[in-house]
């Protein structure tokens, strides 16, 4: 005969729950198993973060959500890859134009353990991120997910796109080999072709009339400090708006007409 569950005990007769810190007669094995959740509980009691985590993760998504919707997270993952590999590269890189930069990159590629791998992840990760960012932008556009009330999110996304391009541009100079030097020369001169303010813009980027020591330091500071900070802040804002406003259904999905089958009113 299968064992039936015990009948529910009425509330006044139930044993009171154990007070925190009192213990409930568990052996050391039980205590060890509970260690993880009790740490989380300790933090949550002092920060109320679990409420925010539930709000972020257990959101409702519309019917018809498909794999296209993963492109945004994929882009963020690529960004995190760039950030982490970038930190490890920064531990060895030297922004000196008179040989230090090229030599440090050579050292990373040839002599550092897994240096070639980390540098490769960073270099290819940049291309991966640009591809994903464009696919994500295309998905958002063709699904009409930029319309009210998500216009601000679209604007933040465009700013993030521009910052991604700027990261690629500034990072390209850092190895300071022939390709980096001449590609940056050409890129900065393209900026200079804008009328009236163009020459001043290219001077500002280069830090002078020619590519010099200031140029490499500037590009390094912009690449390491300025733009990552801005991108982190804007990605945070972008994610907050996505969680707050929710995602849209794909355009081929029409609204449910029968009221009794709808879960939430939009």
């Amino acid at each position: 005969m299968p064992k039936l569950p015990a009948p529910p005990i009425p509330a006044p007769l139930k044993a009171p729950p154990p007070r925190p810190g009192q213990g409930n007669g568990d052996g050391p094995l039980e205590e060890a198993k509970n260690a993880g959740i009790s740490v989380v509980g300790w933090v949550d009691e002092r920060t109320s973060l679990s409420g925010a985590a539930r709000w972020l993760m257990f959101r409702k998504v519309p019917k018809g959500t498909n794999w296209f919707y993963t492109l945004g997270s994929a882009t963020m993952f690529a960004f995190l890859n760039q950030a982490v590999t970038g930190v490890f590269l920064a531990m060895y890189y030297r922004p000196e134009p008179a040989g230090g930069a090229y030599e440090s990159i050579r050292y990373i590629t040839n002599d550092v353990f897994l240096g070639q791998f980390v540098r490769g992840m960073h270099k290819w990760g940049a291309s991966v991120m640009v591809v994903l960012v464009f696919l994500h932008m295309g998905r958002t556009f063709f699904f009409g997910a930029y319309k009210y009330p998500r216009e601000l999110n679209w604007v933040i996304g465009v700013v993030l796109l521009i910052l991604t391009m700027a990261m690629g541009f500034t990072g390209y100079l850092l190895p300071f080999d022939e390709r980096a030097y001449w590609a940056t020369t050409v890129g900065v001169n393209i900026n200079g072709t804008g009328p009236l303010l163009g020459p001043y813009l290219s001077d500002f980027l280069r830090g002078g009339a020619e590519i010099n020591a200031t140029t490499l330091s500037r590009f390094y500071a912009i690449h390491m400090l300025l733009i990552p900070g801005l991108m982190a802040a804007l990605i945070g804002a972008h994610l907050y708006l996505v969680a707050k406003l929710g995602t849209t259904a794909p355009p081929w999905r029409k609204a449910e007409t029968r009221a009794e089958l709808r879960e939430t009113e939009v």
């Binding site: 001449w182 163009g198 001077d203």
Partner: protein, 220 residues
């Protein structure tokens, strides 16, 4: 009605009906305190923001040092062919600051332009006027060829084919005893008239010289 409107425009808070106003007060104590706090904050923010801004924008306004560099002796350069020399454009950064210039002696048959009259040697920069790639002098066809986007220039550096917008830049030259010295850069328009140096991609014909003004840090 007009009376009430005038009362709001009065500079005395007593007339405006501000609670706690006394006779002759124009600025309330609250406004004074907030204004002072804002002012102190602005001074503090300016104390770290303005130097940082100056640091970032400073190089735009720095003036160039004028240097003459020895590139060879007077008998090294023919008058019908270019000889490449290595020059230092930016000191103290090693190989990255070096560039190539193509030098030949002034030839009255070729250099008929009145602007070139007093130049002992013609030194042509290797910076392509399209977007800055280094051009190469090809002796057999008497052309400068740019590898990046196919710009081609003739013996005088004038554009023959491709996307460049003006002729190649040149350098001032002078003779010091037996030595030839190279000076600072200048740009030319298609009539070989001289201008202060411009970046590649900036045309200098007609309205171009006003649309792309010369910058303080690039002038001699």
């Amino acid at each position: 009605m007009a009376d009430r409107r005038d009362k709001h425009k009065s500079k005395y808070t007593l007339d405006r009906g501000m609670p706690g106003a006394f006779e002759g007060e124009t600025v309330t104590r609250r406004r004074f305190m907030t204004g002072t706090a804002h002012g102190a904050g602005a001074v503090a923010a300016g104390a770290f923001a303005l130097p940082a801004l100056g640091f970032a924008l400073g190089p735009i306004f720095k003036t160039n040092q004028h240097r003459w560099e020895v590139i060879g002796t007077v008998d090294q350069f023919p008058d019908n062919n270019y000889v490449p020399v290595v020059i230092t454009l930016v000191p103290n950064i090693g190989e990255a600051g070096k560039s190539t210039a193509y030098v030949r002696k002034f030839n009255p048959e070729i250099d008929t332009d009145p602007y070139d009259r007093n130049t002992p040697y013609i030194a042509v920069s290797d910076r392509c006027a399209h977007l800055g790639c280094p051009v190469r002098w090809v002796d057999a066809s008497e052309r400068f060829v740019c590898p990046c986007h196919g710009g081609v220039y003739d013996l005088l550096g004038r554009r023959v084919s491709g996307p460049p917008v003006r002729p190649l830049d040149r350098f001032y030259t002078r003779v010091n005893g037996e030595q030839v010295e190279l000076g600072s850069r200048f740009s030319v328009n298609s009539q070989l008239r001289r201008f202060s140096p411009r970046d590649p991609g900036e045309p200098l014909d007609g309205i171009g010289q006003y649309l792309y003004p010369s910058r303080p840090d690039a002038r001699k």
